[in-house]
Subunit: 366 residues, 2 copies
């Protein structure tokens, strides 16, 4: 069994990320981090049909309850979060429970947020089953739900006890979702590691074919980068903000279209393209050829490289203004100097933002 | 102007508690702790009619918005919490906002919880206007809302930037609410400081007459005790649990009757009486005479000293089982060895609990 481990080192809490194929079949990886006798698994019906019996069988001697949440970003809200509290209270879970998030990014964000505020905090474990959750959202303790007026507007920084990534779960993941996760994978190369970006260019066919070795290398490198960044800046006071490359635009595309239209990774792919145009305009060292390399790689993964046609620049700007990364009403963006080298620009002029949005296909009127 | 200050010292965050008469009239106390240019005041209509203009006038040069919440414990839930997020987002508040909790315990708990999870955490200031909030709930960072199946089941430990206690606000507080706050005041004496308990016995007439000097002494001593305990045990892993004396019973009375029937302090008063009977039974060093002294003091404050007649022992036990202070299904209670000296009993036998409930007036059947 192929297996590697990364560690997130925080001041008051460190935890491991286990990555390997078949980890869920071995009770050790999950159970070693369950401190108490009660467990609440939070998942959704499709994931449950694949993996729930496997996890449940490891807790035959404990009280093991399940909360099934409806699927999709459209349900990532406070009303649906309430279902988790209902189940916990109905089944008599106290502070000595442990919540297991079994699923993709939506499940991880909601189960983690529920863990952070149930009885003012109970432990939880991430078992991410989508590529996006495995390389990004399950690591680092960002949890939360959406509000009709903005994505992830209500949440907490709350770290899991462990992250258990079984790469075999990617075999059952729908292709569109797998591809969406690749947007975040490509982001790591773009932002922090040109060598990894070039490795991705060479190995994308293998990754798309879900070759176990290529997947292991990909997941390990992404988690390693994410763990290092979170260890240095847990609360996104500096460095960690770089991980939001393309996200200000991506969130606006998601919000303006209505959550659920595009997958998060798809919106991030299109958002990264806008951020690249803006980078070229602002930093002058990024070339059009660099942007075209990224575009080719995104297209290979069948990801959108243009902003959604149904959204106008005006809508998009309105959504961006609500974004939490705006400080004192200045437009702040994460940009690239060159492939593998990111920086934060605190005061990007509005006309450059509008120009980049036009370049990526948005119209001024709708 | 009479003014004293206590400090809560935590590992990563320390903050002052200012206590004095007329503090709200001086812009310094609140404004010194507002880090940014936007402010959201969370309050309710009655408190607003008394104090809102005073606070608003200090922010004439800033964006200062207001969320009005309906009054009472019955509205301390996730749906009403949502109103705060709506107002924050509608008025374009980002991470650079500051929330001001202006009101009693319900307002403080909800505004604090909203601050803890709005955009994963923004700063907030407590301006408690009820006695209960001033001596207890505004200090120490316990925030949260109720669930139909349990009190404070959803929340966070989240500390304010400062607590500003203007004792003049007690002059406008309804007598019933003022008296309810005295239950928590008496609790501090009972648990930690026999001398203070005896001072309360001697000075209760002055306190009930809202004599400014007596109020200042009372508030300072309560906040001093609370600050010391929170500084030693922020997350209630040991010592801080002692502050819950009478609360397991009190919460059950509140829940079983329906929130809003009794005020929290009233339920705590009756709950402390049950805890005293249980203490006498379990520790054998507390005398009936001690209990009668407490009973006399509570009665002087017009507080209930018997469990509510509408609740049966069975109902009460069902509510207690859901209480978060139960570990591995053992009944854990905070008890008194003697006046001023508390301890935690991890395994109180159920029949003793039932006997204490009977002594305090509950019937086995309803």
């Amino acid at each position: 069994m192929m297996k590697t481990t990364c560690h997130v080192h925080l001041k008051h809490h460190s935890y491991p990320i286990y990555i390997g194929s078949g980890l869920l079949k071995d009770p050790f990886w999950v159970k070693a981090h369950i401190p108490h006798s009660k467990v609440m698994i939070v998942t959704n019906p499709s994931i449950a049909s694949w993996y729930l019996p496997l996890i449940q069988s490891q807790f035959q001697n404990s009280q093991c309850d399940v909360t099934l949440l409806p699927e999709g970003e459209a349900f990532k809200n406070l009303n649906i979060l309430y279902l988790i509290f209902d189940e916990l209270l109905t089944h008599g879970h106290h502070r000595d429970t442990c919540i297991i998030a079994l699923g993709g990014g939506v499940i991880g964000d909601m189960a983690g947020f529920a863990a952070s505020c149930y009885q003012r905090g109970v432990p939880f474990i991430q078992i991410p089953t989508s590529l996006l959750a495995q390389v990004d959202s399950s690591v680092g303790g960002k949890t939360g739900v959406n509000h009709p007026l903005g994505k992830n507007m209500i949440g907490a920084f709350y770290q899991p006890q462990a992250v258990v990534i079984d790469t075999e779960t990617l075999q059952t993941l729908p292709t569109r979702e797998f591809n969406a996760g690749l947007a975040e994978v490509i982001k790591y190369g773009l932002m922090f590691d040109k060598e990894f970006f070039e490795w991705l260019e060479k190995n994308m066919d293998k990754i798309l074919a879900k070759d176990p070795e290529a997947l292991q290398t990909t997941l390990h490198r992404c988690c390693e980068i994410k763990a290092e960044i979170v260890s240095k800046d847990e609360r996104e006071e500096g460095l960690r903000a770089l991980l939001n490359f393309g996200h200000t635009f991506g969130h606006a595309f998601e919000g303006a279209q209505g959550y659920g239209e595009w997958l998060h990774g798809e919106a991030v792919a299109a958002g990264m393209m806008v951020a690249l145009y803006l980078s070229m305009d602002c930093s002058e060292s990024l070339s059009l050829e660099d942007i075209q390399r990224v575009e080719r790689l995104l297209k290979k993964c069948q990801l959108p490289t243009q902003a959604p046609q149904s959204v106008s620049i005006k809508d998009c700007l309105a959504w961006m203004r609500r974004d939490k990364k705006i400080k004192d009403d200045k437009m702040r963006f994460i940009l690239l100097h060159s492939l593998g080298e990111a920086f934060i620009h605190e005061t990007v002029p509005m006309e450059k933002v509008m120009m980049a949005l036009e370049q990526s296909g948005l119209s001024k009127e709708c």
